[in-house]
Every structure is written in structure tokens, then in C-alpha cells.
């Protein structure tokens, strides 16, 4: 079968519309991917600025810069924005750009729905950020918004937060339906499931997880809404409910959410490592099965976030062992990446540097995760900076490194221009060093007992905190360099070949297209052997 794309275009030209309304009304997967990526890039700086406020306050013990109430709003919004406004939309941006190109499709399956999924996000985040400027202040109950902090004791702006989360959820569900439909329905003839690129596999599983758990998030914020405004007692023990119920429902969403933020990263890193090792990924099918098992296990480990709330012993044991089980498929992936590099003809361009950084530092985050999985140890670590160190190691040098690696890897394909390799390497080394200065000492202060989410701390933590803050400022400023490199690449540079990277032509359909690719990726679907 050959499928030809048709565009209804009265002027007879095939290409993007003129003027800024192109970006409002577009149905093109590349335009929408670009919108997602720029929005998450902007939100990275918004959420990053909040992190800078947090680190400035924690530079010294005592209260210097902000009031505790505002500090709480900063930690809450930093978390919400980084999770829902940066990492998730950035991966959706990659999905929009790459999935049609990697499976040989003309565009996403449902182009108008695709545009709606994007434009819902600026609306939701506009409202969420605006609550910071309302008289009562924005959400201040932590990004996990535990009841009753987020119900009985919340500012009235929590209602804006609830409906914003609803709209973000709608955006994620519609986006995931679109991605899953594209992958299942529009692959080029001959591309069987087990021939799909790993990024596409990662997103197929991620989209499934999103459709499964985003409605549960909608459910839990709806319960909050009812408890706050309509007198129900889901999370109020006086009426027979239970605040711990909130944590169960939230983490039933929240744990798969963790893998939603890492599975596409696994895909990106797999492509980069095989390209710069100049040999196909080691153990392709085990990579697929590992991602699938991680996804399935993610539904039965949620209560490891709440070991200290008082669960029956059988529950603690079950969730401890189930959590440790996840280390097996994750280990399979790490060993496969290492085995792919083993005896490869390696070169170390910027994407490869970020990917190797990903593999090493994500593994550190994985190991601290295993430590946290041990119930008796977790009683010591719970709600300390050790937890903060753990999830920042999997999210910053994990997900964010994969995003940056992917950006360097595919920017030449997207723009047709090579990025500046020297600046790229400088960006990597500054980022790599500062990320470790920022997050590694958090392990130590956490183990020593420094609790998270407080604007002040005991004096013995002062030195490490000063170090953490310096690292954080360095990390923040370094990302301006990234912004500069991206803009410089868009504006010009050495012309990229269709293959871009030596030998990449055999590794994926996207490298058979011109750089930059045509407006509609594959007007005729290629035959995959």
C-alpha cells in the first residue's frame, strides 16, 4: 500500500501558512512539536527561576529573602511546573516531531486534536502561574498536594489549581490517544511492532500509562474539589473518610507518572548510543520487554511513597519487594546500553556525552531509589533531602539530560543546520559538573536528617547548603548557554546532510528524509524490510 498525503490548500502551495496564525491554527506535527518544545523551554526557565529563589533562600540558615509562605509556593510551583510543564510537554514535543518521521507516516493520526492538546497547556499554566499573583497566593501545599493541606487548610486559589490540573489532564489524554493511534495505525508497511524504533516503543508504553493514570489524577482532584466546596468527606475521618486515601489515589497516578517521565528518555538515549557506537542497540527485544515490564510493575508499587503513613506490615512488605523488582528490567536496560558501547567505534559528540552522563547519573538515582525502597531504611530517609537528591538525580541528569541529548541529536535534522560542537561540549561539561555539585551533597544532608520543604535549617547543614546553592546557580546560568546554542543553530550554521550522523542512515527512517524534512514527512509511505 502506498499512502499519499493530501492537503487542502486553495493557493496550491504546500508549506506552512504565513504569519503568526500559523502557530495558532496549525495541524502540522512539526509545528506542534516545535510549539511543545518552546513552551517547555520557557517553562524550564520559569520553574528554574523558582528553584533559584529556593536556593537563594537556603544559601544560608535563617530567613533572608522570602517569607516561609512564599517559599512554600515556590517549592510547590517549581515541582508542578517542572513535572507537568517541562518534562512531560518536552517529551510530547519530541513525540510530535519524531514519531511520524520514525514510523514513516505523513503526520499524526488526528491533526486537529493534536493542536488542541497543545493549546490547552498554555491556558492551564497561565492560570496556574497567575495564582501566584492573587491576594491569597498560589498553591502552597507541595507538588503532591496531600490532603488535608490541600483541602481544609488550602488557600481558595486551590480551586484554580484543581481546574488547571483537569485541563492539563485533558491535554495529556488527548495527546496520548493521538500518539497511540498514530503508532498502532499509521506505521509504514513492513514495520512490525518488533521493528519499531525504541523511542516509538517508549512512547507507545508511555501513552498507555498516561491514558490509564491521568483520569485517576482527575478523579483525585475532583474528590478534593467536592471536599472543599460541597461538604463531602473523602479525606475527612470525621465523616468516615481517610486523608491517607488521598495519598493512595494520588500515588496510584503518581508512580506511573514517574515512568511516564523516563520511558521516552530511555528511547532517545538508546538511539543516540547506537548511533555513536556505530552498531545496532544490543538486545533490542529485551529493551522492549524491559520497558513493558517497568510499565506493568509501575501500577503495583505506589505505596512505597508512603511507607511511613502506617500501613499493615503485609502491605509494606509487598510494596517493598515489588519496588525492588523494578531494578531488574531497569538493570537490563543499563547493561544493554553499556553492551552497545562495548567494542563500538565510539565518538563523543554532545548528544553522546549527554547520553553517557544519563546512563551513569540515572543509575545513581536508581540506586538511591533502591535504598529508599527498603522499608526500615525509608523510615529514616522519608521526607528528607535524600529523597530530593534521589528524584532530582532521575529527573535532571535523567529525563532532562535525555531531552538535551535528543535536542542536540535531532536539531540538525529539524533545522537543517549543525549546532556548534564546541559550545555544545562546553554546555555539557558545565551542566554535568554543576548538576553534581547541586544534587550530590543533598544525599549527605538528607542522611544527616535535613527535612525537605523548609525555608530554614539547622546550622550543621550550612556548608553543604551553600555548596548546593552555588551549584544550582551555576546550573541555572549554564542553561542560558543552551538557549543561545539552540537559537544560533536555528538561525544558521554548517548545513546538515540528510544522514546528519555518520552511518545513521541505516538506523531509522527519519535519516532518509532531507534536513530539514519536508512539510509533510512521508507523502508516500516507505516500505520497511
Amino acid at each position: 500500500m502506498s499512502t499519499v498525503v493530501e492537503t487542502r490548500d486553495h493557493d496550491g502551495h504546500h508549506g506552512p501558512a504565513k504569519g503568526f496564525t500559523r502557530w495558532l491554527f496549525t495541524t502540522n506535527h512539526k509545528d506542534i512539536g516545535t510549539l511543545y518544545l518552546w513552551m517547555s523551554f520557557i517553562m524550564l526557565f520559569v520553574g528554574g527561576a523558582m528553584a533559584m529563589v529556593i536556593r537563594a533562600e537556603l544559601f544560608q540558615p535563617g530567613l533572608q529573602i522570602v517569607q516561609p509562605e512564599f517559599f512554600n509556593q515556590m517549592t510547590t510551583n517549581h515541582g508542578l511546573i517542572m513535572v507537568f510543564g517541562v518534562i512531560m510537554p518536552a517529551f510530547v514535543g519530541f513525540a510530535n516531531w519524531m514519531i511520524p518521521m520514525q514510523i514513516g507516516a505523513p503526520d499524526m493520526a488526528l491533526p486537529r486534536l493534536n493542536n488542541l492538546s497543545f493549546w490547552l497547556l498554555p491556558m492551564a499554566f497561565g492560570i496556574l502561574v497567575s495564582t501566584l499573583f492573587m491576594p491569597e497566593g498560589g498553591p502552597n501545599f507541595g507538588w503532591t498536594f496531600y490532603a488535608p493541606l490541600s483541602t481544609t487548610y488550602a488557600p481558595s486559589t486551590v480551586n484554580f489549581f484543581i481546574f488547571s490540573v483537569h485541563v492539563m489532564g485533558i491535554s495529556s489524554i488527548l495527546g496520548s490517544i493521538n500518539i497511540i493511534t498514530t503508532i498502532l495505525n499509521m506505521r509504514a508497511p513492513g514495520m512490525t511492532l518488533m521493528k519499531m524504533p525504541l523511542f516509538v516503543w517508549g512512547w507507545l508504553i508511555t501513552a498507555y500509562l498516561l491514558i490509564a493514570v491521568m483520569p485517576v489524577l482527575a478523579g483525585v482532584v475532583t474528590m478534593m474539589l467536592m471536599d472543599i466546596n460541597f461538604g463531602t468527606s473523602f479525606f475527612n475521618a470525621a465523616g468516615g473518610g481517610d486523608p491517607v486515601l488521598f495519598q493512595h489515589v494520588f500515588w496510584f497516578f503518581g508512580h506511573p507518572e514517574v515512568y511516564i517521565m523516563i520511558l521516552p528518555a530511555f528511547g532517545i538515549v538508546s538511539h543516540i548510543i547506537e548511533t555513536f557506537s556505530r552498531k545496532p542497540i544490543f538486545g533490542y527485544s529485551s529493551m522492549v520487554y524491559a520497558m513493558a515490564s517497568i510499565a506493568i510493575l509501575s501500577f503495583v508499587v505506589w505505596a512505597h511513597h508512603m511507607f511511613t503513613v502506617g500501613m499493615p506490615l503485609a502491605g509494606e512488605l509487598f510494596f517493598m519487594y515489588a519496588t525492588m523488582l523494578i531494578a531488574i528490567p531497569t538493570g537490563v536496560k543499563v547493561f544493554n546500553w553499556v553492551a552497545t558501547m562495548f567494542r563500538g567505534s565510539l565518538t563523543f559528540e554532545t548528544p553522546m556525552l549527554f547520553s553517557i552522563g544519563f546512563v551513569t547519573l540515572f543509575t545513581i538515582g536508581g540506586f538511591s531509589g533502591l535504598m529508599l525502597a527498603i522499608v526500615p531504611a525509608d523510615f529514616q530517609y522519608h521526607d528528607t533531602y535524600f529523597v530530593v537528591a534521589h528524584f532530582h538525580y532521575v529527573l535532571v541528569p535523567g529525563s532532562l539530560f535525555a531531552l538535551m541529548a535528543g535536542a542536540y541529536f535531532w536539531l540538525p535534522k529539524w533545522t537543517g543546520n549543525m549546532y556548534d560542537e564546541t559550545l555544545g561540549k562546553l554546555h555539557f561539561w558545565l551542566t554535568f559538573i554543576s548538576v553534581n555539585i547541586t544534587f550530590f551533597p543533598m544525599h549527605f544532608v538528607g542522611l544527616a536528617g535535613m527535612p525537605r520543604r523548609y525555608p530554614d535549617y539547622a546550622l550543621q547543614f550550612a556548608d553543604f547548603n551553600a555548596m548546593i546553592s552555588v551549584g544550582a546557580f551555576m546550573f541555572g546560568i549554564t542553561q542560558l548557554l543552551f538557549l543561545f546554542i539552540v537559537i544560533k543553530t536555528i538561525r544558521g550554521g554548517k548545513k546538515a546532510t540528510p544522514e546528519v550522523w555518520e552511518g545513521a542512515g541505516d538506523l531509522g527512517l527519519e535519516w532518509t528524509l532531507s534536513s530539514p524534512p519536508p512539510h509533510h514527512s512521508f507523502t508516500v509511505q516507505p516500505q520497511v524490510k
Binding site: 500500500m1 499512502t3 499519499v4 498525503v5 493530501e6 492537503t7 487542502r8 501558512a17 496564525t21 491554527f25 495541524t27 507516516a105 503526520d107 493520526a109 491533526p111 486537529r112 493542536n115 488542541l116 493549546w119 498554555p122 491556558m123 492551564a124 492560570i127 481558595s156 480551586n159 484554580f160 484543581i162 488547571s164 485541563v167 489524554i173 496520548s176 490517544i177 497511540i180 493511534t181 498514530t182 495505525n185 499509521m186 491514558i211 490509564a212 493514570v213 485517576v216 482527575a218 478523579g219 474539589l225 467536592m226 472543599i228 461538604g231 463531602t232 468527606s233 473523602f234 475521618a237 470525621a238 465523616g239 468516615g240 473518610g241 481517610d242 486515601l245 489515589v249 496510584f252 499493615p312
Partner: protein
């Protein structure tokens, strides 16, 4: 498959309009609930504006999709995309209900028994020492804040009050009859459409709608009884909470399904659908079967067990 191209619309104002509509939704809903106790508030007008915008955009969006299909722009692959899309959308709805059933299961099996002093967490009954766990929970731990309901909606209660006559007068029984029958009638309507029998389609779809609306009316009567005679409201503790939230969201989805099928009937009367191209209707009937399955779970876990 045919060689017809996959239709990619060049650009469209509709999605952006819908995004603006949802912005109005966030502002309107939040302002409305914040001002619930403020009789001078006009915030609900924003919600009214939202509803008008939503219906308008939805109308034009669906109209365009239908026109494209009638113009022959949709190739078989695109039609499959709609099928996949609807299937996964229903899966997301399943998971939404799962969250509330999960809450109900946790409340009944853990939260309430623990409050009553059962098991390893018996320590929690020091908060309300006299509290006794039971389900349906008629006496809440703190009767001063959440006064428990006087009566509940369960089959057991209906039977103990009136015996067999009580069971026959038990409204959920009739609603079960209505909804299960309507799943059958919508299937007969579908068979009629597939066999090219337009009259069979219209009549049986109309019958489905009558049954659906009867369900909604009976549910309304049930709520009225609960509020006016049984002392069962949203504010009567966790039994009222779970009862109204689960049946309420289900009732809301029945209304949505009924609206969808009403539109399908109107489309049929306008001459839309052919024997082998009618996914709009089929998607609506899938939705209808889905709300039926949810109802069966509701009867089991909310009303009977």
C-alpha cells in the same frame, strides 16, 4: 487498502477556539465554586458563557468532520484512526471510574474498619472511642460535623423494610431493567442499520433513548427521595459521599450518552449513515454499552454488596 491519500487538514481555527473555551471553563468554574456562599456573585455567568462556547465549537467541529467524510476525504486508514481514538477514550473513562471504585473499596475495607478499631491500625479508634464500623455507615465518627444518613439505598434495606414489595419498589431495580434493555435495543438498532433497514434503526434507537431518559428521570426521583425523605445527602459522611459521587458521575455519563445518541437519531433522520459507514453512531453505541457496564458494577458494589 486503497491508494487514497491520508487526509491532513491544512489548518483549523477550531482547536484554538476550544482551547480558549477551556480557559473560560477554568476561570468560570473556579470563580463559581469560590463564590458559592456569595449570593451577589455573577461568576456563574462565565460558566454559562463556557457552555455556549463549548456547544458552538463542538457543533462546528463535528460538522466539519462529517462534511469531510461525506466529501469522501477520509480513507480507510483515517477511519481506523477514529476507531482507535474512541476505543482509547473509553479506556480513559474506565480509569476515571476506577479511581472512585478504588476509593470506595479502600473506604469499606480499610478506612472505616480501622476507625472502628480493627486490625493492626486499631490505635486509630482513640480519636472517636465509641465509633463502631459498619456499612452503610449510618453513624459517622463525628456526628456533630457530619450527621449520618437516616436511611440508605441498599437492596438489603429495601428488602428488610418491605419484603418482596420493597424490592419491587426499589428504584435501582427498575433502572437496571431500563439500562440493560437499552443496551439490547441499541444493538438491534445497529443490526437494522447494517442491514440497510432505516426504519428499524430509527425506531429501536428511539426506544433506546426513551429508556435512557427514563433512567435519568428515575435517578432524579431517587435523589429527590434521598434528599427530602431519607436524610441522605452529600454532607452525611462517607456513605453519602461515595453514593452520590459514584451514581452522580454515572448519571452524568448516561446523560452524555443519551445526548450523543439523540444527535445520532437526528443525523439518521437527516439521511446520514450508510450500512457500512456509520462510525459516529457506532462510537455512540460503544459509549452506551460502557455506561451500562459501569451501572452493573455500581449495582453490585454500591447498592447490593
Amino acid at each position: 487498502m486503497s491508494d487514497q491519500p491520508y487526509y491532513v487538514p491544512e489548518s483549523s481555527k477550531l482547536p484554538f477556539m476550544m482551547a480558549i473555551t477551556m480557559l473560560v471553563f477554568i476561570i468560570g468554574s473556579a470563580q463559581t465554586v469560590i463564590n458559592l456562599d456569595n449570593p451577589d456573585s455573577n461568576a456563574y455567568l462565565i460558566l454559562v458563557a463556557f457552555f455556549m462556547m463549548w456547544w458552538t465549537v463542538m457543533f462546528f467541529w463535528f460538522r466539519q468532520v462529517i462534511q469531510e467524510n461525506h466529501a469522501g476525504l477520509n480513507n480507510p486508514m483515517l477511519k481506523d484512526s477514529y476507531v482507535f481514538g474512541m476505543a482509547w477514550f473509553i479506556f480513559s473513562e474506565v480509569m476515571f471510574f476506577f479511581a472512585f471504585f478504588f476509593a470506595l473499596a479502600y473506604i469499606r475495607n480499610f478506612a472505616v474498619p480501622w476507625l472502628g478499631g480493627e486490625g493492626e491500625k486499631a490505635i486509630s479508634n482513640i480519636l472517636w472511642p465509641g465509633f463502631e464500623a459498619s456499612w452503610p455507615l449510618m453513624i459517622t465518627p463525628d456526628q456533630a460535623i457530619f450527621e449520618g444518613p437516616k436511611e440508605d439505598m441498599s437492596l438489603g434495606t429495601a428488602y428488610s423494610h418491605g419484603g418482596l414489595a420493597g424490592v419491587l419498589g426499589w428504584l435501582p431495580l427498575w433502572n437496571t431493567v431500563f439500562l440493560l434493555t437499552s443496551s439490547l435495543t441499541v444493538h438491534i438498532a445497529h443490526l437494522g442499520l447494517k442491514n440497510g433497514n432505516r426504519n428499524q434503526f430509527n425506531i429501536w434507537l428511539g426506544l433506546t433513548l426513551v429508556l435512557g431518559y427514563m433512567f435519568v428521570i428515575v435517578q432524579g426521583i431517587e435523589y429527590y427521595e434521598a434528599y427530602s425523605h431519607m436524610g441522605l445527602t452529600l454532607n452525611t459522611g462517607i456513605y453519602g459521599t461515595t453514593f452520590f459521587m459514584l451514581t452522580g458521575f454515572h448519571g452524568f455519563h448516561v446523560c452524555l450518552g443519551a445526548i450523543i445518541l439523540t444527535i445520532m437519531l437526528l443525523r439518521s433522520l437527516k439521511g446520514h449513515f450508510t450500512a457500512d459507514d456509520h462510525f459516529g453512531f457506532e462510537a455512540g453505541s460503544w459509549y452506551w454499552h460502557f455506561v451500562d457496564v459501569v451501572w452493573v458494577c455500581l449495582v453490585a458494589f454500591v447498592y447490593v454488596m
